[in-house]
């Protein structure tokens, strides 16, 4: 049985995009292979690792658990859409400054999740950050620098005049 392909028209990172795909093609695969936006990564392909996190209509979702046809007519934001040209978003800057990544594979998923989280909770306490990011797995960092990056990002986004010191550096003599 060959299932019929559906036309998909959607907005990605502010631009109208379109493609043709079988219904079973996930949004993640559509973004990566049809639209050549490979920043969204596939870690587990069954909804537990968070590496595929994108925003659909502003909400963080697992793109491996959505079909591309379901995104027809919707607004999708991927990691490629966060920076404004060459200017990094404060969340991206904070991850850079706090060393919130090593291999970088989980990073797009984290950055999109953090972005969505800070929209809802602009001044989070540390105890609120870890549950909010429980849907994203990192094998490299041990998470502490990621938590620091979220705190720093929230400072930057609230327009603090001084950046807060990075919290997890060991005290140097």
């Amino acid at each position: 049985m060959v299932s019929k392909k559906h036309t998909i028209e959607l907005t990605v990172n502010g631009k109208p995009r379109e493609g043709l795909a079988e219904p079973r093609r996930t949004l993640a695969d559509f973004l990566r292979d049809d639209l050549e936006l490979t920043g969204t990564h596939l870690g587990c392909e069954h909804g537990v690792c968070g590496a595929c996190t994108v925003l659909v209509n502003g909400e963080a979702v697992r793109s491996c658990l959505m079909f591309a046809v379901q995104a027809n007519g919707q607004e999708v934001t991927t990691i490629e859409g966060l920076a404004a040209g060459s200017k990094l978003h404060p969340v991206q800057e904070a991850f850079w400054e706090c060393h919130g990544m090593q291999c970088g594979f989980c990073t797009p998923g984290f950055v999109m999740s953090v972005y969505a989280f800070l929209q809802e909770n602009p001044e989070p306490k540390e105890g609120e950050i870890r549950p909010a990011l429980s849907g994203n797995i990192c094998r490299c960092t041990g998470y502490q620098n990621i938590v620091d990056a979220v705190l720093l990002a929230s400072e930057k986004m609230r327009g603090a005049s001084e950046t807060i010191p990075v919290l997890s550096q060991p005290v140097k003599e």
Partner: protein, 41 residues
């Protein structure tokens, strides 16, 4: 070993931003699955 007063002394123990991070942060990393080979979807 160089002592304080040289350029190298200023870097020891400093937190230095990595040069590869902007690529990772903007989705421009090139992981194995991102490589397009002819004939592979």
């Amino acid at each position: 070993m160089a002592t304080s007063g040289s350029v190298i002394g200023g870097l020891i123990g400093a937190s230095v931003k990595r040069v590869e991070d902007p690529r990772f942060l903007t989705g421009q990393g090139h992981y194995v699955d991102d490589i397009k080979l002819p004939g592979c979807d």
